[in-house]
């Protein structure tokens, strides 16, 4: 089973890397970008076929390691 965990910065947390990317896009002439926030994507392969179990396991992975919930939110998707 394939799954994806997406980790993003919480609203209000300053993102210096996102700001730098935003500036670089502007200097490349990519117009109309008003904000960039950088995050992380984890593509994960799992044993078994139980979707509920997979979601619980991914939540555990995110809480224990993949995300720092002080500053980050995460979203879990089982892609089948």
């Amino acid at each position: 089973m394939k799954a994806r965990v997406t980790v993003t910065l919480k609203t209000g947390i300053l993102d210096p890397q996102g700001k730098a990317i935003e500036g670089a896009l502007r200097s490349l002439g990519v117009e109309g970008v008003t904000a960039v926030r950088q995050g992380k994507v984890f593509d994960i392969e799992l044993e078994g076929a139980d979707k509920g179990k997979a979601e619980a396991l991914l939540k555990q992975a995110a809480d224990k390691l993949l995300a720092n919930t002080v500053i980050e939110n995460y979203r879990v998707e089982v892609l089948g």
Binding site: L14, P16, Q17, A20, K64, L65, V70, I71
Partner: protein, 233 residues
């Protein structure tokens, strides 16, 4: 002072730290590998040195914070044992939940590597008894991710409970955005745990303990610790 210095893959300041601990306390520390499950018996100070544990993969300090030895450090801290984390050690303590908040990428995105001035906010802690409150010390920093942040409630608690121990400042001790090198909230350079037995700081006091280097301002921290432990013994 029976100190234990934790060693993780990618840490690179453990020898500086061990040298300083030996110089200031007269006793060689024990180096403890991350895969150990127990601290040496009789340890009265645990030090997590600086470096780039696990290459800063995922988030700085994130993987080291989950190493087997950290369960022993958590138990040791819960019993009131003294823990000092410097630079990557501070990041590891935050990721391990032993200190609140997190160290983000420096505001100017640069790796900063030079001397800074710190204001010692209080002298009544085991880590700062070698200084006077308000004293300004000069010590080096070397980090890309030292921009301390926590939620508003946590910051208010840290400030209210006097747990901000070091702040970046000007040479005459003024807190000023121009001297807050990494953009840390309230110019925070070091904080203590609720019980005051765990200290995390980004600068490297261990690198300023010998006159040959040009400054001995870091010595007070280690000499003060050795004295505090000698008194307690």
């Amino acid at each position: 002072m029976n100190s234990a210095v934790l060693v993780f893959p990618g840490i690179n300041r453990e020898r500086d730290m061990a040298r300083t601990l030996a110089l200031t306390s007269g006793r060689q520390p024990t180096m403890v590998w991350h895969a150990e499950r127990e601290l040496p018996a009789g340890t009265d100070l645990v030090v997590i040195p600086g470096g780039f544990s696990y290459g800063d993969y995922l988030r700085c300090g994130a993987i080291a914070a989950r190493a087997p030895i950290m369960d022993a450090v958590r138990a040791y801290a819960a019993n009131g044992g003294l823990v000092l984390g410097v630079c990557n050690g501070f990041q590891i303590l935050c990721e391990a939940g032993l200190l609140p908040g997190v160290l983000m990428r420096n505001e100017n995105l640069r790796f900063i590597c030079h001397d800074v001035f710190l204001r010692v906010e209080r002298s009544d802690t085991p880590f700062t008894r070698g200084y006077n409150a308000g004293q300004v010390i000069r010590v080096p920093v070397a980090h890309g991710e030292g921009n301390y942040i926590a939620d508003g409630e946590t910051i208010a608690r840290l400030e209210g409970e006097g747990r901000v121990i070091f702040r970046y400042c000007s040479p005459d001790g003024m807190v000023d955005p121009n001297w807050n090198h990494n953009g840390a909230i309230n110019a925070i350079a070091g904080i203590a745990s609720e019980r005051g037995n765990v200290l995390g700081m980004m600068p490297h006091p261990e690198n300023h303990v010998e006159a040959a280097i040009g400054s001995t301002d870091g010595r007070g921290l280690f000499a003060g610790l050795a004295e505090a432990l000698a008194r307690a013994a």
